[in-house]
Amino acid sequence: MGDERHYEICVEVNGVARQARVPARKTLVDLLREDLELTGSHVGCEHGVCGACSVLFDGEPMRACLVFAVQADGHKVTTIEGLCRPDGSMGVLQDSFCESHGLQCGYCTPGMLIAAQGLLQRRPDPSEDEIRDAIGGNLCRCTGYQQIVEAIQLAARRAGAGER
């Protein structure tokens, strides 16, 4: 494997241009975690079922285990680390998950937050059906989903009231 070809890529991650040298088979989520040390994105199933690795790719939620890092060259990626406030404290959406007990073990949480962020960007005041549809591709084995739905509803209300 020593002679496996590597590719120079540049990906804008959370607003910062990041360079890396990767083999073509490295997935985007492995680039984020292993090369860029952004371990907030979780690796669950590695074949596009669980949603734990979701990131915003050019602003839209996608599965980072189903994108090769070389394909992200020249694109913009936002990870869970990019959802916090500039001072590093949690944003409204993250805080709402804490307030509403929208997580237990936390494994699915980054993917849930990304899915919710993608939804709220498009639909600031989503219906419960829209919320359930938006997180339909993310598996949670702890919460039963109800508190996650409530957390996203809370975040929408808080953002609607002007909280940032």
């Binding site: 997935t27 074949h47 090769f68 899915a115 591709g137």
Partner: protein
Amino acid sequence: MKPAAFEYERARTLAGAVARLATHGSDAKLIAGGQSLVPMMAMRLLRPTLLVDIRELDELKLIRIDADADTVRVGACVRQSEALEHAALGEAVPLLAKALRWVGHVQTRNRGTVGGSVVHADPCAELPLVVRVLDAQLEACAASGSSLIAAREFFTGPLSTALAPEACLAAIHFPRWREGACGCAFEELSIRHGDFAIVAAAAQLALDAGGRCTRVVLGVGGAGPTPLALERAAAGLVGTRLEDAAIDATAEQASRDVEPGDDQHASADYRRDLVRVLSIRVLRAARSEARGQSQPGGA
């Protein structure tokens, strides 16, 4: 769950991509959205040595809807989420929009392409069923030239198509139904929404001014090695007023005309019964929609 090593090239033109396939040979693969291909590589069911990325080719991302044309041309790399949100496409090919709601999840539709799902040709998948039931034309592009393949010839088995290994699906030409009173419906049963269907059914029909059915197509997925158009069963509805009894008889015929298999999700008998039940549902729903259009104020 890591793919085997491969080399990667981003295509600049469609012609360049198919030329590369021709020179590299059959262990090269095209990648667009990758939402079916990458899992297969992760499980090492596929080990291409070269991936040619066509995702960013603008020439494959066009949706062309001409007012006078009999078909709508959807570029193979149009993302599923874009197709779903495209109002004019939803109006011209409403069955496609109805089926797209069942395809995967937000995250996979944001990256997965219409053409990718079609060439993956999973017999349970929604888009191959729509392509088959409408008998769309598949535009294949190879170094030797372009050709059109009818959907009835395209799906040859599970995950198998008539597309040559060195060819690229460039676009899908969906027929437009011009009748005044048309209706269509898509239904499926899956274990969780967004999963592949155990059985899916699609129907589209047209009524004349007197409420008689002039044209109808019915198809099912998950009940055979390919998506199936149930032409014999549907033919019995032409000329009827789509009474419940006629629809029930058609659905019975449909369930007799399929030969589903058993697997861990469902027995063959259960699938056969689903073909009957879902056929009734889609035919009734399509009928209601068509009557609503022909009789303003509701049927």
